[in-house]
Amino acid sequence: MTDVRPHQDIATPAGDIAKPIKSELLHINMGPQHPSTHGVLRLFITTDGEMVTKVVPYLGYLHRCAEKIAEGNTYHQYIIYTDRMDYLAAMNCNWTYCLAVENTLRSLGVEVEIPEYAEYVRVIIGELNRIASHLIAFGTYGLDIGAMTPFFHALREREAILNIFEKVCGARLMYSYYDVGGVKWDIPDDAMDEIKLFIDLFPAKLDEYNELLTGNKIFVERTANVGVLDAATCIDYGCTGPVLRGSGVKHDLRKDDPYSIYDRFDFDIPVGTGTVGTVGDCWDRYHVRMLEMYESWRIIQQAVDRIPPRGEVMAKMPKNLKVPPGQGYYRAENPKGEMGFYIISDGGTVPFRCKTRSPAFHNLHIIEHVGKGQMISDLCATIGSLDLVLGEIDR
């Protein structure tokens, strides 16, 4: 599949060829089994030599039509399907969904009083999962660029977090730990000790990561000034999370639209500053995640300090949960960005419609824009910096 085109049409890299050479466009399938597409993303790219002229993503390899499943399952049963959306941050997906159902209930006049202890547990566990998700993003990004070592270091710390989760809820990946009205179990003592140990050890590890990858000259050369996104484009494409913050927009729902008990904690929102290149390049997005891990660590530390003595973990909820007729769109800040659920209920035990706004879906769209005019190897770097999770894009 080639078509011939004179060379002048496309952007030539500066300082390159002086006289126009006739070149051919080449269509390449990148994926669905490409190691740097983080799952089963298929990109149909058109290249001119090494330059990419067009990127078209093809989705659906992981599609399970979770929204249809939602219409046949009760509100409680659907929690476990939200696990399977962003499988690297299943706790946060659970949380967002439970938050959406609780807020819908509240807005329709049903009292949902989440116990104080449960709120703290939610924050601690959610932030731990945010760190775990960013660790994978950090590790696999190194892998995309060609650095193998950081990946093993990242997985080691993630393992510690998963061990904590295993003690807390009995599963290592699909937790379904949050429930509408609280959490299912408390944090046992041995898990609490491990969390405290993790708090003590993590900053040193973070420094290590920074030494390993962040400052590495080869890494900086590969990512600085690559895949630059300005703030306006990001907003236009609906990007959220580290992608938006990497472009210098200070937007974080934990601060801007505080849910749960985030207004009680002291933390900053890191934004991209263009330290080594331009604001909004791949390095900035990567660095925002590194800084966010530190902020999450701060939140966990404060929450563990202030957590009230163990008590009730669930609000008083009816056994057969019914949501009064009404609708609502509620959202929360996930590691990948803003996740939201739009729930329409007509009074029954199952939602009439439950639409998911998944952050990675919107973050993916920008690849069509930013992929144009890049080298193929830079495209890999850009995809990695967007931190896509296909389970969440395809749902």
Binding site: E166, W185, P188, D190
Partner: protein, 151 residues
């Protein structure tokens, strides 16, 4: 020219910094486990294969209703006093270890066990039958009364 030299210097210095970390870890004990020989201790809440303690099952089908993927099959015959449970099967092909079935059970007879490695060659083998011959469902009230009578 200066930039050229500093670039080279930066490259080597940062690479060797990373190498230093690797070298530090070379002297430490590995964090990995050799799985089949060494096994980690499972926490209490570990969610393994679902197990049903049939003698205590009242065959109320609450668990089957709670299951989001409908993988518990309960069949009964007869009415009233003659009611018999002829089948209680769990399809582990479908089960997702969510533990939702354990929550509504009135006698806590369905539990998450600590088994996790049941590899089989055929998918059909993963449909576990818990009831062979038809059994009389457990009646908690009657059992309590009998216990009282014995005491």
């Amino acid at each position: 020219m200066v930039k050229f030299v500093t670039d080279i210097w930066d490259t080597f210095s940062t690479v060797f910094k990373g190498m230093g970390i690797t070298a530090r870890y070379m002297r430490k004990k590995p964090v990995t486990q050799q799985f089949p020989e060494e096994r980690w201790a499972l926490p209490d809440r570990f969610r393994g294969f679902v197990h049903n303690d049939v003698p205590r099952c009242t065959s109320c089908t609450l668990c089957a209703k709670a299951c989001p993927v409908d993988c518990i099959y309960i069949e009964m015959e007869g009415k009233g006093k003659d009611r018999r449970m002829t089948r209680f099967a769990i399809d582990y092909n479908k089960c997702i270890w969510c533990s939702l079935c354990t929550e509504p059970c009135p006698t806590n007879c369905i539990t998450m066990s600590h088994d996790y490695d049941h590899s089989v060659y055929l998918r059909e083998k993963l449909v576990y039958e818990f009831v062979g011959d038809p059994v009389i469902p457990f009646k908690p009230k009657k059992a309590a009364r009998e216990e009282e009578a014995e005491a």
